[in-house]
Point group: C3
Chain length 218, copies 3
Amino acid sequence: MTTSTALLLADLAGVAVFAASGASAAVAKRLDLFGVVFVGFVAALGGGIVRDLVIDEVPPLAFADWRYATTAAVTAASVFWLHPQLARLRTAVLVLDAAGLGLFTVTGTLKALDVQVPPVGACLIGMLTAIGGGLGRDLLTGEIPVVLRREIYAVASLIGSIVVALLAALGQTGPIPLTAAVLLVFGIRLVALRRRWSAPVATLRPPGAGMGGPPPQW
Amino acid sequence: MTTSTALLLADLAGVAVFAASGASAAVAKRLDLFGVVFVGFVAALGGGIVRDLVIDEVPPLAFADWRYATTAAVTAASVFWLHPQLARLRTAVLVLDAAGLGLFTVTGTLKALDVQVPPVGACLIGMLTAIGGGLGRDLLTGEIPVVLRREIYAVASLIGSIVVALLAALGQTGPIPLTAAVLLVFGIRLVALRRRWSAPVATLRPPGAGMGGPPPQW
Amino acid sequence: MTTSTALLLADLAGVAVFAASGASAAVAKRLDLFGVVFVGFVAALGGGIVRDLVIDEVPPLAFADWRYATTAAVTAASVFWLHPQLARLRTAVLVLDAAGLGLFTVTGTLKALDVQVPPVGACLIGMLTAIGGGLGRDLLTGEIPVVLRREIYAVASLIGSIVVALLAALGQTGPIPLTAAVLLVFGIRLVALRRRWSAPVATLRPPGAGMGGPPPQW
């Protein structure tokens, strides 16, 4: 199997899991069939469309290759018709999302490096490929994007993209190191979910509660 | 009249009706003059800007040809100053929107086919050209996009874009079949509005309410 | 100092002030460290990314030149750790925003003119460069964009971009006239904030309250 075939299969697998993730979120929001397919499409292909626009691969793969849109639409419609019971949706969304995060981080970073984007930019593009679909999904369903509220989501992707950039610099872009990078992102995200890791939040002291201010009322 | 002149006129007509649609929505939201013009601009030109970025026609027509921005701005400002009474706004928005939907579906699909995008991608681009402005309008005004809640909106556009792709495959892209495609989308959308057609929504049974579960409380 | 060096420095200064503006808004919203850096990144670089996509400078500078992303990230993280007391944040956000508005309007318009975009389009691109980051910041944090509610924000940018287009037509694009254009936008915005200038809002009479309608109930 050539590298480009492997990239295609990994990409389509990522499309399917992100479409399922987006469709599950849309089903939970009670959107109709078209809304479920559309949110699935955006969640699956939105990040890749942004990536392709930024690296000037036009028309983006999502439009140039019918297998992408078809994979997203069929997966999302399947979730609509076959979705499991409500109580199970939340966990499924989170695990599928973590898998897609890893897959898209690695393929996005590689594609940017392939067209000679410098490493810092390629890492950012890899991260945006991975989190862009989720941003779109959350904006469309009226949520403040989850990525802004759970640090370890995008940071897991950023770590993965840096690992890919380092592997590429070392010439190690075979299937095994890249699969390890996917699993690294997936693992970090799952552990973060499990242990409820979260990022620091800036402390905003109430006016007057700082040094030298009046004592709080009691 | 050449095909490109006909496309230009159809495009500017679509720009005007979408700008009026966006401006009417912004007036109803009590936005100020700039807000009304800006939402009109996004509703009118947002879908086309996305289309041009995706097919690599840069700078997009909205920036390359001053007639587009001027048409959108003048129409939106006219709606601001001359808008009819509140009670009539809702119907006007919906009918203008249906007309713009038909026009932009057809011109968007044709332009994508013209630059050799494959049929499946061209249909998606045609649909995004038509619904993109409305998505932007709804996101800017803090609404969950109407397209996610009323299936027959985007589906009407998708049907129209498939018809255009079929007509193009048969070499029938003269004014008469294309006008018929515009009217088809317009008609489907109006009938859907009139008859309140809507898409299926996934049933989410409450836990325990399925077969074999305990009977509901009464 | 060459023109391109001056443009780079002005651009990086704009990136820093917009990143600080975005990060301050995110701190006030209680987002976590990653959220603060990400909103700072979008506020600082979102407008420029849109500009570069529209004028086909790909990959956009934000990805091609590591100094942009680094400036945005370091500034936003600094605001996170060093942010002043809550009561001072609001004013700081508004003044920094006005400075970034002026800088980005001028650099955005110039770049569009440099690649032969016609004047009307270049003015729109200059304005979008300046207001695009703020739009992204507000959409990400769940606000209706401030630009739609305060007319003198984007209009100040539009005036500045028209001045830049006129200066360019006259061949006056040296540091002094361009700095004057930056200060013009900055000044208009600050005066508008100070005097609470606002745009007209369309009057929506309640049904029946117009001429000839029944008298209001009492």
